[in-house]
Symmetry: C2
Subunit: 345 residues, 2 copies
DNA sequence: TTGTACGCGTTATCAT
DNA sequence: ATGATAACGCGTACAA
């Protein structure tokens, strides 16, 4: 009796709201979108019908029609890395404030997955992209990125091949250079350096800081103390184990990531080498228990949450005003001196 | 000359592909969806046109029409918590394998935001939800959850008020009970317990384990050594500081989270109380440098990544087969004994 | 101020 | 095996 010709109990649409309120479909839309030209009377009737029916908007339909999904894509190699976890949190917060949702993709560092993810996000019609490339140079990935007509923000990456990307980058070189400086002041001359391959910016910049730190003092760089490899604890463990076993081992170590720190410490513990005593240690990017280690670890730190927030801001700014060009923001690093760095002797 | 009546350089649609290939629109759709009934000839022509035009599908339009977004919502209080970071990674991996995207929302533990997020995700027509509620009992949030017609999977939470949710839960009680047992064997009788309020399952279950551990030995529970509060390092620091200052302080402590561990250790370090020596310590959920602390921290651990994978599997299983009812999977915990727990001396 | 009507890019149901 | 056509739910230019 009175059965409308529609599937049983599907959610009400704007059309049914209109019927219930005895107004036109477009009027309902106007009320929903807070269009200025709606009478009080109309607003009331529609609002009432919406309430009665328990109407809820279908954002997919809205997106198709309006051309905007209010969704952005977020591409990282590994959210479980405390660095990216913090960045993700910061970005998510800012995006939410601006009414955007974040679709997260985790590539586990696999370049081909990363490429597919970037493409999929475009197919999903995201309004923008925040990306921490696993490899800045891979052609296929860069082409995929270049295909995007919506704004792209890079996270501590540089891709001259893809212009018109914004970026938030960090001043690693200065931080690491300061760390090397500190170590020199403490009397160290043979400073080891364990870092990632130069495929991404942080690796390059930290190496630069290490080199510049030596250059400033006009000291020859101990090339035999530099170890570059993949971003895994395993590599760092091997590298540090190796470094501490050579003829004249380093008296201080700079490890270029929290992930590498874990491996480095494992090696030192295993070999029974007391940190801060027989070897000074500096890490990059703080990590929860770093301050509570014995001894507490000196780190080149940065505001990770701020990085995420900044990336979101750069993105939103371009989405809301497509006229403005890309922008690069540089965030500082801070050398947090703790007792893992001690005077030589 | 030959100007089609459309906006300049918008991305080609299925329609333009059809025109280019001189076939019907529906045929293109069939080719794209790998419909069985397409001739080789047809497939070739369409594929060629797609390639020539650089056509890319519009998943928003597809979603509207098909009713499936192949997207799921992921609601968590804080991705930066290493526990959730790992879970997120696990879930993201499984979801991607099954062709789903994840839209991530971070509530920072604010109940009202969480409520809004759950609603927004429904408006976005997600095919399912994975949720780690900040508060299992808040009526408004539960109602929001109950509104969902698509499957919901709870992460270590229980909501009897909302039936038909699947869940992956962990056996915290057994793990903590084992920890208490270990401490008893080491001679401890006054065991402190610092945990979160009972608003969520892990808090309840860990408390239960603590109580059961005592009950098994027929030992009275030292009620004065139990401290429950918010999930912040600050609370744990205060609680531990307080516990260690009372007339007859505990000789062992169980802290119920990696977040609380940080605060607890801060207090002990500040007070100059050596862990493992003057006070034994057990934490819940491992954390990167926990194994490298001095002494290494004994923990009630669990497979965090597996939790995420499991949650994704439970969700996908119900999305792909709506007939099957909700399911609850219990994952084990493991007591990882390290040297922060030592004989009472 | 409100209503009419069309289109967003797809999928799916019909014929043929 | 292929083609025409009607939805999906909503926004908006235009008419009234």
């Amino acid at each position: 009796m009175g059965g409308k010709k529609q599937s049983p109990r599907s959610r009400p649409t704007i059309k049914e709201v209109a019927e219930r309120a005895n107004v036109a479909l477009s009027s309902v839309s106007r009320v929903l979108n807070e269009h200025p030209d709606v009478s009080y009377e109309m607003r009331e009737r529609v609002t009432r019908a919406i309430h009665d029916l328990g109407y809820e908007p279908n954002l997919i339909a809205s997106s198709l029609r309006s051309g905007s999904t209010r969704t952005i894509g977020f591409v990282v190699a590994n959210v479980a890395n405390p660095l990216f976890a913090d960045i993700t949190r910061g970005a998510a917060r800012r995006l939410e404030e601006a009414g955007f949702s974040m679709v997260l993709t985790n590539s586990d560092g696999e370049a081909s997955r990363e490429e597919r993810m970037i493409r999929l996000l475009r197919w999903r019609q995201v309004d923008g992209l925040i990306v921490a490339l696993a490899d800045e140079h891979r052609r296929e990935t860069l082409q995929e990125l270049a295909q995007h007509e919506t704004p792209v923000v890079l996270l501590d990456r540089e891709t001259p091949e893809v212009p018109s990307t914004s970026a938030v980058i960090c001043d690693h070189a200065t931080g690491v250079s300061q760390a090397v400086d500190l170590l020199f002041e403490l009397g160290h001359r043979r400073i080891g350096f364990v870092s990632v391959l130069e495929a991404i910016r942080p690796g390059r910049e930290r190496l630069r800081g290490y080199l510049e730190g030596h250059a400033k003092r006009e000291v020859d760089v101990p090339r035999d103390l530099i170890r570059l490899g993949p971003l895994t604890p395993g590599f760092a463990e091997e590298a540090v184990g190796d470094l501490m076993s050579i003829e004249s081992p380093p008296t201080a170590l700079v490890v270029a990531s929290n992930v590498l720190l874990v491996g480095g410490l494992r090696a030192l513990h295993r070999m029974g080498i007391p940190v801060g005593d027989r070897v000074s240690l500096v890490s990059c990017d703080d990590i929860p228990l770093g301050e509570l280690h014995s001894p507490p670890i000196t780190v080149v730190d940065r505001d990770r949450t701020r990085m995420g927030e900044m990336a979101a801001e750069l993105l939103i700014e371009r989405i809301q005003n497509p006229e403005v060009g890309p922008r690069t923001v540089t965030l500082p690093t801070q050398l947090v001196v703790r007792s893992s760095t001690a005077a030589l002797g």
